[in-house]
């Protein structure tokens, strides 16, 4: 049975935790740039979810009699592309692709990278050396180049884009988590937990992981922005999502060929990428400052 003192201590801890969370959210939302970033992200998420209700036309419906129309012509808000497809509707549906690939690829990289980082940092020794040499090898490729090579081999498609960008994300997460583990694992309270007979799993997931979560969240947020750019880059090079699926990168690629006749297509699809990535970066910066301004990310 708990003593009164223990109950008081638990209440105090709960109160302090709630206060800390409150102060974090207040700090985050007081930062105007972060709030703007959050608004952009929310708009993107809502657009992706409610795309069928927001789009004015089916995104892949072609009309050869209405190709390369300007904004506002024939009921097309942002005009049409070279196949007569509604640009606005494709931009709306393109948000889905960007968001799906962005989040899924980062999750992929975060899960595998963090596991590698945890094992490497915690076990140390030869296993650490082997894992880190593999990570060093992966980091020897410029990010986009590794994704390009993987897509070339795996072939086009949404799932393959997630894998290619996800794999390219593994080294960053692995190094980050390993660094965190190394800095936490020698702490006194971990030593105490270990001496009390706690198992490796408990030490890792109850003590080390929660202490590494803040930089991980910030890094993951920033990585979503990078993954969205990577997806657009792959699609721009014709290696990403397969046509006729609407992707901002492939729309930009198509718009490049009609720059003189219809500069709108390239301009709008690129702006969609820029605003989205900017929103995520703004939010990521704010998140970092609210969690720990000294964080080196």
């Amino acid at each position: 049975m708990k003593t009164m003192e223990e109950i008081e201590n638990a209440k105090e801890l709960q109160y302090l935790k709630a206060k800390k969370e409150q102060s974090f959210f207040r700090k985050l939302l007081r930062n105007r740039f972060a709030a703007l970033g959050l608004i952009i992200i929310l708009i993107l998420i809502l657009t992706a979810i409610f795309a069928p209700f927001i789009a004015t036309h089916p995104p892949n419906a072609m009309d050869v009699t209405k190709t390369l129309l300007g904004p506002g012509e024939s009921g097309h808000l942002l005009g049409t592309d070279s196949y007569g497809r509604d640009i606005f509707s494709r931009i709306v549906y393109g948000a889905r692709i960007s968001l799906i690939v962005g989040i899924a690829a980062v999750l992929f990289g975060a899960i595998f990278g963090s596991l590698l980082g945890l094992v490497s940092g915690y076990l140390g020794g030869r296993i650490d050396a082997i894992i880190m040499r593999i990570i060093d090898g992966m980091m020897a490729f410029p990010f986009i180049l590794l994704a390009i090579v993987l897509m070339t081999v795996l072939g086009q498609g949404l799932g393959n884009a997630v894998i290619a960008i996800g794999v390219s994300n593994i080294p960053g997460f692995a190094r980050l988590v390993r660094g965190q583990v190394l800095s936490v694992k020698e702490a006194d309270y971990i030593e105490v937990t270990r001496s009390l007979g706690a198992k490796h799993g408990r030490i890792l997931f109850r003590h080390i992981v929660p202490n590494s979560i803040a930089p991980l969240i910030v890094y993951a947020t920033m990585s979503v922005a990078g993954a969205i750019i990577s997806e657009a880059s792959l699609s721009f090079l014709g290696l990403g999502v397969q046509p006729p699926t609407a992707s901002w990168g492939s729309m930009l690629q198509e718009g490049k060929d009609f720059l003189v006749l219809s500069p709108g297509l390239a301009t709008i699809s690129g702006l969609a990428i820029l605003v989205t990535v900017l929103g995520i970066n703004l939010f990521g910066d704010g998140l970092r400052d609210a969690l720990d301004p000294k964080m080196k990310l």
Binding site: F33, M132, R133, I134, D136, G137, M138, A140, F141, P142, F143, I144, L145, I148, V149, L150, T152, V153, L154, G155, R175, L176, V177, R178, G179, Q180, L182, S183, P215, A225, I229, A232, S233, F236, L237, G238, L239, G249, L252, G255, K256, L259, V260, P263, A266, T267, S269, G270, L271, I273, L274, V277, L278, I280, N281, L282, D285, K296
Partner: protein
Amino acid sequence: MKRFLFRRILQLIPTLFIVAIIVFFITRMLPGNPAAVMLGPQASAEDIAAYSEQLGLNEPLHRQFFDYLGNLVKFDFGNSLSYNQPIADLIMERFPNTVILAISALIIAVIIGVPAGILAAKKQNTFLDYFITTFSLVGVSMPIFWLGVMLALYFSVNLGWLPSTGMGSLDNGLWDFLSHLILPSIALATIPTAQFARIIRSSMLETISHDYIKTARSKGLREFIVINKHALKNALTPLLTVMGLQFSNLLGGAVLTETIFSWPGMGLLIVNAIEKRDFVVVQNTVIFIAVIYVVINLIVDVLYKVVNPKINLDSDKGGA
């Protein structure tokens, strides 16, 4: 220092070995017979068999790997099917062009990014600071392939001032060379410029808050000397690492810029080889870029040590 250099060079060996393994196995992941994929659907069974033999695909996997490693060491990358010439020659033709583009982008980034970062730090929380901070955030968020397309649209298509494709030649005069270089360099320089400004701003702010800067000010030193002689010297150290990393990234990031502006460098070589399904070229070009990337990182580490001998780069602790 000699020991440090020796140890760092030794560390390169396993990394390069892993790079070779990664590229070898990724290219072996191609579904079906790579020779058939490269020759295309029109190829006859005899052609496929002959090309498989030429590529050594009939050998056991471990034998293929060691042959491939041996050839890499000898700088023998084999022949390109689509270009009909040795791949080493192709790389040597294209690599200097990518270096020219990367160096000019780096120069632009340093010339604009560093003063912008210093200015933002000096005028912290003023309109100028917000302006530079906002622009640098837009810069790091910029899809450079889009910026490239927009630059081409405005300066080439609309104004007709600068060419949007190809690489000029010094034989046709300096302007021909520079005019072709300007747009791709600006596009490629955008992200590093923004990153340099952000890094310099934050490291200057951190340095300015140190006691020795306050002491320098209290001694009555002019602000110009305090900033440029004392603060900047320390704030520049992190920039060195980022510059090295950025230069390596520029070599890889040039894939998109070179594609947009048809700049005949390594990036365009890779994209064209992918289109032609010439995977031997892709494989060897990627290996080459990865080796350059690793070597540049080594040079950066060494320079970092030279600039700041107290730094212990051997320590892995907290090396996130």
